[in-house]
Amino acid sequence: MVTRLLIFGIAKDIVGSSATEIALPENATITDLKNILEERYPRLKQLSTFMIALNNQYATGDELIKSNDEVAIIPPVSGG
C-alpha cells in the first residue's frame, strides 16, 4: 500500500519535500508509520516531539492507515 504524506514546518526541511509517497505494509498503524519515518529520516528523532495527523485529526498510535487516508507529519507547532 502506498500512502501520500503531507509534511510541514521543520519536517519539510528534514524530508526535503512538502509531500511524498511512502510504501506501507497492509494493516500498518500510525506507530508503524512513525517507526518507518524515524528510520528513514533520523533527524525527526531530534525534534522535541512529532505527531502524525490522520485525516486532519491527531492520531494516538494504534489507528490503522487505509489507502485513501490523508496522513501528515506534524512537528512541534508554534502558531499564534
Partner: protein, 138 residues
C-alpha cells in the same frame, strides 16, 4: 456563534470586533498577537507562518467550541494569518464577547494558550544570519 479565518492577507481588528458584538454583551476581550523585534536577545527580521490549512481551521474551530462550552461567552472570532510577516504585523486576533467581562477574559486567554499548543501552524524566525523553526528542538 463562531467565526474562524485563516488568511494570507492582513487581519482586520474591526471585523473581529463587529463579528462578536451583541446587544446581550457587556464586554469584549480581544487578543492581538504582534510580531516582536527580538527573541531570546536576538534581533528578528521577520516571521514566516506556515499552516496545515484544513486541519488548522478544524483545530481552531474545536478550541472555539470548547471555549463556548467551558465559559459563559456569546461569540468567538479567531483569525490567523499565514505567510511572511514583518515586525509589528499581526499573526493572530482572538475576540470574545460575554455578558460579564470575566468570562470574556478567561475564554480569550484559554483560546490563545490552547491555539499555541494544538493548532498545526508553524513559525519560522528569520534573523540576519539564518532561520529557526520555533519550538522544533528541545
Amino acid at each position: 456563534m463562531i467565526e474562524i479565518k485563516l488568511s494570507s492577507s492582513p487581519l482586520d481588528l474591526q471585523a473581529c470586533m463587529s463579528f462578536v458584538a451583541s446587544p446581550a454583551a457587556g464586554g469584549i476581550d480581544i487578543f492581538v498577537g504582534t510580531v516582536r523585534n527580538r527573541t531570546k536577545g536576538k534581533e528578528v527580521h521577520r516571521l514566516e507562518f506556515e499552516a496545515y490549512e484544513t486541519m488548522a481551521i478544524s483545530e481552531m474551530q474545536k478550541i472555539a467550541d470548547e471555549a463556548i462550552d467551558k465559559f459563559q461567552v456569546l461569540k468567538v472570532a479567531v483569525h490567523h494569518r499565514t505567510g511572511l510577516l514583518n515586525i509589528g504585523e499581526v499573526p493572530v486576533i482572538i475576540a470574545v464577547s460575554a455578558i460579564h467581562r470575566a468570562a470574556a477574559f478567561d475564554a480569550c486567554r484559554f483560546i490563545i494558550d490552547t491555539l499555541k499548543q494544538t493548532v498545526p501552524i508553524w513559525k519560522k524566525e528569520i534573523f540576519a544570519d539564518g532561520e529557526v523553526w520555533v519550538n522544533a528542538h528541545p
